[in-house]
């Protein structure tokens, strides 16, 4: 069985001007696609030949892990977005965010700080831990929280390829725009 690039539920220009069509053409059409292609080339003949993406992420090392996690991370990242989204979470997720971080505003500030200060390439994550508490963590390169037994709820890609065509060195501007793209119903469904 081979891995496939997921279809996006919106057009490549649907998130403009926060993420340009050009960025999507490369980020989804080239980077994400390349991770899928690389993974499909790497797993045949290994013990991961019939494994799920999650199993590979939990157990593999090196290039197999890197490409599998990058496939998973990008799918998770892109599927968080919707045109005309943003706003704030509601219901149980909103309650949990307030309980763990004080308020939605404080959560946003802490998450943005994690995204902006991550040095090099990587991902900022909101995760649910096995004890039910929420935490914000940084992962370098292809890092993925399910390896630590956490449930990912939200992520922001801060590899430079995620924002360089639109924002160049101004990562904080990209992270500010990121909030306007989040479909909180999707995040709540992961909670």
């Amino acid at each position: 069985m081979s891995f496939e690039l997921p279809k996006l539920p919106y057009a490549l220009n649907a998130l403009e001007p926060i993420i340009s069509q050009k960025t999507f053409e490369f980020h989804y059409g080239k980077h994400h696609q390349t991770y899928v292609t690389n993974l499909n080339n790497l797993v045949p003949g290994t013990k991961f030949e019939n494994a799920t993406l999650e199993t590979i992420i939990k157990e593999a090392e090196g290039p197999v892990f890197n490409n599998a996690a990058q496939v998973w991370n990008h799918t998770f990242f892109f599927l968080t977005f919707a045109p005309n989204a943003g706003g704030e979470p509601t219901g149980a997720l909103a309650d949990a965010i307030s309980k763990n971080f004080g308020s939605f505003a404080e959560f946003k500030e802490k998450f943005a700080k994690a995204a902006v200060t991550l040095f090099g390439s990587g991902w900022a994550w909101l995760v649910k831990k096995p004890d039910g508490t929420l935490e914000i963590i940084q992962e370098s390169n292809a890092g993925n929280p399910i390896r630590k037994g956490f449930t990912p709820l939200l992520t922001c890609d801060v590899w430079e390829h995620a924002y360089y065509l639109d924002y160049q060195n101004k990562r904080p501007d990209f992270v500010e725009g990121f909030w306007k793209l989040i479909d909180w119903k999707v995040v709540a469904s992961r909670f």
């Binding site: 390439s121 370098s140 390169n141 292809a142 390829h161 160049q168 060195n169």
Partner: protein
Amino acid sequence: MAFELPKLGYAYDSLVPHIDAQTMEIHHTKHHAAYVNNLNNALQGTGNENRKLEEIITEISKYPAAVRNNGGGHFNHSLFWEVMKPNGGGNPTGDLSDAVNKYFGSVDKLKENLNNAGLTRFGSGWAWLVVKGGELVVSSTPNQDNPLMDIAEVKGTPILGIDVWEHAYYLKYQNRRNEYLAAFWNVINWEEISRRFKLAIH
């Protein structure tokens, strides 16, 4: 004295078409400048403000991450600007040429090794040509680490560094890091690398 952003020995548009002017300008005035500022801030009030950058780098395990990241960023970019020049390229000469042939077989083989080191560095980092115990070796480091650091896997004196952070090439080459690496050989400043080679082996 605080560290300062070095001036470039050439214009931002003088490496065109291999590296575009916008990339050069942002890389120097934004990325490199931020490393210098953040390094000065990280050292302020620590008693280490007056130490030489090389002294700090070689004992980097004693410093916090902000010094490692920004001190490395300042050192690496300062080297990077100098190992490039307008109308560069060609081949090394003299002792460096002999050493390249001795340790790699040919200059093409060295380029192949460095391209491979740059391509396989997953995430952000650098590809290096290093003088290690009098020999030439190729390595790569993550983020802003470098071979002078006491934490480096391959330790030695870097005489050539190629920046493979996406900011070094994304505006012109996007996901095609291989094309950026191929183009780099047209702007390489072998005279400067020879100069650094001689200092490193003595």
